[in-house]
Amino acid sequence: MIPLNLADGAPPALHGVTEAPPVLDWWLLAPFLVLFGAGVLGVLLEAFWPKGSRRTAQIALAAAALLGTFLLLVLQVEAVGDGTTIANGVLAVDRTVLFFQGTITVLALISLMLIAERRDGRDAFSAQAATVPGSEEERTHILAGSQHTEVYPLVLFAVLGMLMFPASNDFLVMFIALEVMSLPLYLLCGLARRRRLFSQEAAVKYFLLGAFSSAFFLFGIAMVYGYAGSVNFGVIRQAVESGGAEIFQDGNGEPLLLMGVGLVAIGLLFKVGAVPFHNWKPDVYQGAPTPITALMASCTLVAAFGALLRVFFVPFGTSAAIWEPMLWTVAILTMVVAAIVAVTQRDVKRLLAYSSVVHAGFILTAVVAGSVEGLAGAMFYLAAYGFTTLGAFAVVTLVRTRDGGQELGDLDRWAGLGRRSPGLALALSLFLLAFAGIPLTSGFIGKFAVFEAAVAAGATPLVVIGVLSSAVTAYFYVRIIVVMFFRESEGEGPTVARAGVLTGSVITVGVAATLALGILPGAFLDTLLPSGEPGQEPAAVMVGQVTEVSADE
């Protein structure tokens, strides 16, 4: 099976690459190329740029690359029209994809600000990750002020993977995107300056579990390939419609498809962090340097959901009967289990991790809806959640212990924060209320959009469970507010590091986005989301302009 797969992996385009050179639309490929080029350039800088100003150069390069990518994406919106595929049909470009990519770049740009923030001349990353924690060698590196400027090219590569992930129109490309996205993240997770063993443990855990899930994903691809005879989404879609590739005219192909859908789903749900596959999230979020956690919680989630929506709506769009029961189960489990477990958490980052799991469950209800409204709801939710969660993690980076300047995870010791720095506490309260879905915040509109789509699609029980679970989640969000505002600090309270310009602007952007999307969501909903389509057409019509294109291939 495997050699077969590899052999056929090469010509994803049906005509064969060798006969004619592939037609590449350089203009539409430009965002990927810019990021990739910047990443490579960053690695070169690492080798050749003088050490003193290297960090500045890297930050400038990364920011310029992300900004440039975002501008390119915006410029493409008009040009792409109904959507098309590029590079021999392995990547799709349509408005949905561009939306996801745009959101990811903006969120990445904001997380970059967090990543670049330094306090007392030190950023959040280990001076020299290769040294043994606590060793003499480590101390010399710290004293010498070494730093890992490799962080920035790594982030660029990760973002490149995130851009490709929801744009893939081909399972192999999607797998590559998954790996390009994940590998730098595994590495970044292990780079925390404080509590390094913890951070390394998180990295290893993430890597091992991620590798497992990738294997499942790959195996699923093999099954789907066996069933459909291609890894191209458009072709798979047709194959699913007609009951499999030609060799399955007898109708025996069903098991292959079932296994394929299931295994691919495992890979994707792992990245999303849905419940049976969520165990990495709390550990990794807690252990990773907080700026990286912010990057993962916002951008990776958007990318993973972008890919998930694409996979379920385009290639598997016509086999909803197969995956809907599965996603129902997963969504229910996610919403219920994560909400209940989160109640007992005492660490802020773990709590936010579980909250992200619950949110994944809410978004899954929109996927289950399988409609254009669901897609639009999920897209809005993701964007809104991304901004809010970035802001929340930015606040977390500021609250520190008095002695070591280490971040203060333990929730009980946040008591009295509301008195000490009311602005910060208010901002965090706003984010938490948005997570809880209180009206006039973006979280409410997102939740409403998602649940409305689900009810319209007849998934009312799911929505009832979702609503009950958000009542549970409200408890622990509000508990943080209680601790901050209504409880006096016993003994030594938290100190709040002065917000640097960068972190301050991240929080400001978060607050602004949360309020703007909450109070005036109209502009956003009307112009950017694909809800313009009338009624409840199957989502494939919307996402998968690809289908038409690949049909005439």
């Binding site: 006039l440 409403f448 649940f451 009810v455 929505v463 958000s470 009542a471 409200a474 408890y475």
Partner: protein, 420 residues
């Protein structure tokens, strides 16, 4: 309907005078925010907008209780309040979405259109939707099984907050029942009438009996509210014109009477620093004016003829009797209990020997007098001459009653005009 309740919101503004010492700037900011949202809630003609205000309202109240309340348990009480309301609100959200999906619009006028899509929905679905709204409103109101947040919230909040909480916020619940439950789901209502009536009766007695057993005046008044809300919901779901007019009137009058009670208890607390009944006694000897207004407010609470709540309670009884005599008779027994808890509280705090500590208790100050006087005046005025209020209420009620009667409910345009 919204017009009637605006005076209650104005009431909120009155009480700003009372708390200047314990409040601080943040408190008044929260009150103003809350006031804006309350006007929004009552003025909304769009279910979605209503929901947005309904939920957003929780946040200022939450901080008012948690931050500016009394006692050690205030954070817990605030949390309890928020969770109860939020749970109810979220259940309502499902119903709101359901209404939107079925009705295709959020606009209240279209949703209540008897020829509209929502009216044509099958009865089972309508019942579920009704239930979704009703649970949220019942929590808000609060009715018997889901009332437990009110005593702790009111008991832990400052008296000013309690006035707003009981006087206005809870009215959103009964207002919602009247306007949304009854008018949007006329078919489902008849199915739910008896369970709701039973719950109302339980609320009346349960609230009254617990009120008798309280030793904290704030909690006592809160429990009397549970009892009074039982009367209101009873009136609403009796589905007769008089009962609903009475219920609507009761909502207003209850705001005056209970608001005055909370304010006066607040004055006592400000003097003595305690809300416990046993800490008081013989107040009438040292502070006759205080005791006097307390008595009037208390008597209003038990619906003495000549005071405003009597009219409304009487209308509710008449209406409910027309609907069915049994609940009316049972509810009337509740009034006896009301007399017991109010008078007993008065007896224990105001009469008898004056303890040492209270001998220097000052009487009402000018500021306090001006805060209570309008309420007392209104209680007496509307008790003697309730017609102005009834004139506003009646057209609205006629419409509401017609809707569940399953007739073509609407509506000469002027009735609607009056109402908005």
């Amino acid at each position: 309907m919204s017009v009637i309740l605006v005076p209650l919101v104005v009431l909120a503004a009155w009480r700003e005078h009372d708390d200047r010492d314990d409040g601080g700037r943040g408190y008044f900011a929260l009150i103003l925010a809350l006031e804006a949202m309350m006007i929004g809630v009552f003025a909304a003609t769009d279910v979605f907008l209503f929901y947005v205000f309904f939920e957003a309202m929780l946040i200022p109240v939450y901080f008012m209780i948690g931050r500016y309340g009394r006692g050690a348990d205030r954070a817990k009480a605030a949390m309890k309040f928020l969770l109860y309301s939020l749970a109810g609100g979220l259940i309502m959200l499902v119903a709101v979405i359901g209404v939107y999906v079925i009705g295709g619009t959020f606009l209240w006028t279209e949703l209540t259109d008897p020829g509209g899509a929502l009216a044509a929905v099958d009865p089972a679905t309508a019942r579920w939707l009704f239930l979704g709204f009703f649970i949220a409103f019942a929590i808000k109101a609060p009715m018997w099984p889901v009332h437990t947040w009110l005593p702790s919230a009111a008991g832990s909040s400052s008296p000013g907050t309690a006035v707003l909480l009981v006087g206005v916020l809870d009215k959103v619940g009964t207002y919602g029942m009247l306007r949304y439950c009854l008018e949007m789901f006329p078919a489902a209502v008849s199915w739910f009438v008896w369970p709701v009536v039973a719950l109302s009766l339980v609320s009346i007695f349960y609230g009254a009996i617990l009120a008798i057993g309280q030793s904290d005046m704030m909690r006592l008044v809160a429990y009397t509210s549970v009892s009074h809300f039982g009367f209101i919901t009873l009136g609403i779901f009796a589905l007769t014109e008089q009962a609903q007019a009475g219920a609507a009137l009761y909502m207003v009058n209850h705001g005056f009477a209970t608001g005055a009670l909370f304010l006066i208890v607040g004055f006592l607390i400000a003097r003595r620093g305690s809300a416990r009944i046993e800490d008081y006694g013989g107040v009438q000897k040292v502070a006759p004016k205080l005791a006097g207004v307390f008595l009037i407010a208390g008597l209003a609470g038990l619906a003495l003829p000549g005071l405003a709540p009597f009219v409304s309670e009487f209308l509710v009884f008449v209406g409910v009797y027309a609907f069915s005599p049994v609940p009316a008779v049972i509810a009337a027994l509740g009034v006896v209990l009301a007399a017991l808890y109010i008078l007993w509280m008065y007896q224990r705090t105001m009469t008898g020997p004056t303890p040492e500590k209270l001998s220097a208790l000052p009487d009402l100050s000018g500021r306090e007098t001006w805060a209570v006087a309008p309420l007392i005046a209104l209680i007496i005025a509307f008790g003697v001459y309730p017609q102005p209020l009834l004139n506003v209420i009646n057209p609205a009620v006629e419409r509401t009653v017609e809707a569940p009667a399953d007739e073509v409910a609407v509506a000469d345009g002027d009735a609607e005009g009056d109402e908005e």
